[in-house]
């Protein structure tokens, strides 16, 4: 099939994701965990509508734009809000992206509630859950559940700035079906989940 990306003709096979055709940043998308469409960083304009490139399949005749001023501003804002509310000190890829987009988080002032105050949870011999660094991308929840393991020891709770991954009923991990495979740790993009062995 043929479609237009930023005015240029592009060939694509049936079932191709727009993400595979265009160059846009992404955070939540991960093909093993099957997480998609949450972080909104990969939004593109398709025939005038905003759609996540990681969750949209290419279709005949689509007109896709990835670099409008509005999209740039939106990505910059999203990144600034992440940086403002979250400790990104162990998320080098996100910090780079923020710089590339000339993000200035401080222009929004301070937030009434942020994730930064959350205390790290140490409840098992293997890894730490440091939700001050969590951006709710949901990859960990998906890796534990349908995406890879089928264990469902992690879930997402609350909404908005309070939203965070946790265990069912907030129980310590050893009291859940967790098998400590660490696949959640592997897919975490921000260091919110990290091996205890990394701590000095």
């Amino acid at each position: 099939m043929r479609l237009k990306v930023n005015g240029r003709q592009v060939e694509a096979k049936e079932g191709t994701l727009l993400l595979d055709l265009v160059e846009v940043p992404t955070l939540c998308h991960h093909h093993h965990t099957e997480t998609k469409g949450l972080c909104r960083l990969c939004l593109v304009e398709v025939n005038g509508r905003l759609l996540p490139a990681c969750a949209t399949q290419a279709q005949e005749g689509m007109e896709v734009r990835t670099d409008t001023e509005d999209l740039k501003a939106l990505r910059r804002t999203l990144l600034e809000w992440l940086a403002l509310s979250t400790d990104l000190s162990q998320a080098p890829a996100l910090l780079e992206l923020l710089e590339a987009h000339q993000g200035q988080p401080q222009r929004w002032g301070s937030l009434p509630v942020t994730r930064r105050e959350r205390e790290p949870i140490r409840d098992n011999p293997f890894f730490l859950r440091d939700y001050a660094k969590c951006v709710n991308c949901r990859r960990c929840v998906d890796a534990c559940g349908d995406g890879i393991m089928g264990v469902y020891a992690l879930t997402l709770e609350d909404r908005g700035l309070l939203a965070h991954p946790t265990t069912p009923l907030d129980r310590p991990l050893p009291g859940t079906p967790c098998v400590f495979c660490g696949n959640c740790v592997q897919v975490c993009p921000t260091g919110a989940l990290r091996p205890l062995s990394m701590e000095v």
Binding site: G150, V179, Q186
Partner: protein, 679 residues
């Protein structure tokens, strides 16, 4: 840097980050077989090479009552060679045994069996798969002419029905367990046959709970039912198999009614399972120790093989017969000839053509008599006077521990080559410190025949050396004294090149260069060959090209419960540990599962007045151990389950050394015990 996980046969690719002499994290690359996923052992259990129990220096002593003396490599190797040669001279090749290890590389197993066969002249060569899948190897070889998984792990994504038998997959091969469960979430059916309510049973479409040791009856009854209902694959049976009529006649006694009485599984469930398996085109069977570790282990696997042949499941995508191999390189250790009856490539030592091939390659005459199997070697002490043990801990892994210890006490000369001190080290005369998987180069072959690289990430500690180096140096000394040829290799790749020459039909096309990317599956005869995924598509590896039905009859386990010992003990593993615990209990994993827990059904617990978490004694005819009771309906009434990882409470003090007549595997899965409260 990428390497291959040293725990189970899945062969996960891992990328450990090492900083200041410790592993800070382990990631998995996005390539087969694990595609970025790991289990707790690969993720958090790779730090055993840093254990305080590392063997760091060669050590020697004249007899078992003296302390070990630290010596140079030179002295240790000279001494070992001298002692082995003395036994050889006095008692001949039949008094020596060499056990390569399914935890070392292909190159190292190849060298170990070459040393045994070409220099010591003995075929007493074996390794730990004797204790795990020797029954599968025997049954598959007899029927199909090949003893490995017939289908690749990628086929899990194409399978519509899984028949998982006697495999606690989510704990013993967790990455495969997760792959199967994911496919089931996508709509595939999962039939689980297991006395225990495992993670697989929990995910099952249909779970059959037979009494321990009765699977053979169940499979024969399923086959008889499938025949009766006309659900079998007649054209497949006619074109691709032989021995059908005789086998069919042997099924007469295996009615559903009898099956229900013997196995305890409702006849409707057996019929349903049979119907589903027979009528699903892409139905794959997966199994492990629950089938094999019985005195009728070979017969039980055979019954499953017969069932698969009857329904035409072998040689097709998404189906097949798939034994889940335990150790990281158990497939490779067999492929490399780490077995008493075969050279590398499963070529029989008794076959003249095969022998000529290796006589020409190695430049020596070879012994045509198949050797003793591992379990038989220990029984043959003190006729067997010298054992060279590489990476094994028989005191923990062999059955009937007290008996084995007495045998080792009577052994005149024991060489132990290993990375960590274990329960068998105290019986050694010579200790040769080996390099761990992190500290050497080579290849492992995983459960689906994928040859994969092992890469050196660290220098070995102390004076530890890679197994291949030790074998080569020892071989050099033996060869000099015996006046026999012995090739010297600059490194593992040169050994691999000899393996390619030795078994070109199997490994000829696999080069280290090709293994830089993904692993390559054997058989792979040429460098442009992609490696075979599904075996036996056209013909089987038997002389006639057809698979053989072999009749098998049910026999009860050797030790049945009695008034004095009313419970059945089944042994096995838990997620957090590995075999004798030598590796896992010297890693971070020990904190997650520190002590032996024995599973007790709530009904048995209530009758005996045992509380969850209470310390009890498990008492059998051969000994007793202390354990914490875990009251759970994971285990059926009348059965207790004990993992064998705990040296201080060894489950193998209770198991018996009754052996399968064909594979000589011990009956680990059934022994009689009672539980005693500690008052």
């Amino acid at each position: 840097m990428r390497t291959t996980c040293p725990y189970c046969g899945v062969g996960c690719q891992v990328e450990p980050t090492v900083r200041e002499g410790r592993i800070v994290q382990v990631l998995a690359p996005d390539i087969p077989p694990n595609h970025g996923a790991l289990c707790v052992k690969g993720r958090f259990g790779l730090d055993f090479p840093f254990s305080e129990k590392r063997l760091l220096y060669p050590m020697v002593r004249e007899d078992r009552h003296q302390p070990f003396r630290r010596v140079s490599w030179e002295e240790a190797l000279d001494y070992t060679a001298h002692k082995l040669l003395a036994v050889l001279k006095r008692r001949g090749p039949e008094a020596m045994a060499v056990f390569p290890s399914a935890k070392t590389t292909n190159e190292e197993v190849y060298l170990a069996q070459k040393l045994a066969r070409a220099l010591l002249g003995t075929n007493h060569v074996d390794h730990c798969s004797r204790l795990c899948h020797s029954s599968s190897t025997a049954a598959l070889s007899r029927s199909l002419g090949g003893a490995s998984m017939t289908n690749p792990l990628e086929d899990i994504g194409k399978t519509d029905l899984f028949l998982v038998v006697g495999s606690n997959t989510t704990e013993t091969h967790p990455v495969i367990g997760a792959m199967i469960k994911k496919r089931v979430r996508q709509g595939a059916k999962l039939l689980v046959v297991d006395p225990r309510y495992t993670g697989m049973a929990e995910a099952a479409t249909l779970w059959l709970r037979p009494r321990p040791g009765t699977d053979l009856f169940l499979f024969n009854a399923m086959a008889r039912f499938i025949l009766g209902e006309g659900l079998w694959d007649q054209s497949y049976v006619e074109e691709r198999t032989e021995g059908f009529a005789e086998w069919q006649a042997s099924l007469e006694p295996y009615t559903l009614e009898e099956a229900e009485r013997i196995t305890g599984v409702e006849r409707e469930k057996i019929a349903l399972a049979a119907r589903l398996y027979a009528t699903t085109e892409r139905a794959g069977a997966y199994w492990a120790m629950g089938l094999t570790q019985h005195t009728k282990g070979t017969a039980t696997v055979q019954a499953l093989v017969n069932l698969a042949l009857l329904t035409g499941k072998v040689g097709k995508e998404g189906a097949g017969l798939n034994p889940l191999r335990g150790q990281n390189n158990v497939q490779g250790a067999g492929d490399m000839g780490g077995l008493p009856d075969v050279f590398p490539g499963y070529l029989k030592v008794s076959d003249e053509t095969a022998r000529k091939r290796f006589e020409a390659l190695w430049g020596v005459g070879l012994n045509p008599e198949p050797g003793l199997r591992m379990t038989e070697v220990f029984e043959a002490i003190p006729q067997v006077e010298a054992i060279y043990l590489i990476g094994e801990d028989p005191v923990t892994s062999e059955p009937y521990q007290d008996h084995l210890k007495a045998k080792l006490e009577a052994l005149p000369f024991l060489v132990i080559q290993d990375i960590l001190e274990n329960e068998t080290t105290p019986f050694a005369h010579v200790v040769l410190p080996a390099a761990s998987f992190l500290e050497k180069e080579g290849t492992f072959t995983n459960t689906d025949r994928r040859v994969q690289r092992v890469r050196k990430i660290l220098e070995p500690p102390g004076e530890a050396k890679p197994d291949w180096w030790i074998l080569q140096e020892l071989g050099k000394r033996l060869a000099q004294a015996l006046g026999r040829p012995w090739a010297l290799y600059p490194g593992p790749e040169a050994i691999w090149e000899e393996i390619r020459q030795a078994v070109p039909e199997m490994m000829g096309g696999i080069t280290y260069r090709r293994l830089e990317g993904e692993g390559v599956r054997w058989p792979c005869p040429q460098e442009d060959h992609p490696g075979e995924a599904v075996l036996f598509r056209e013909r089987f590896n038997t002389p006639s090209g057809k698979a053989r039905f072999i009749p098998v009859d049910f026999t009860p386990p050797v030790e049945t419960p009695s008034p004095e010992y009313p419970l059945v003990l089944s042994t096995g593993r838990v997620l957090y540990h590995w075999h004798g615990g030598t590796l896992s209990r010297n890693s971070q994993l020990k904190e997650a599962y520190p002590e032996l827990k024995v599973e007790v059904n709530p009904k048995d617990a209530e009758r005996l007045g045992i509380q969850d978490g209470e310390i009890v004694q498990v008492v059998g005819r051969r000994g007793r151990i202390r354990a914490r009771a875990w009251v759970t309906d994971r285990t059926p009434e009348g059965v207790v389950y004990a993992p064998f990882h705990f040296a201080e409470a060894p489950a193998n003090r209770l198991t018996l050394n009754a052996l399968d007549p064909i594979s000589r595997i011990p009956e680990y899965k059934v022994s009689a015990v009672r539980l005693e409260k500690l008052d």
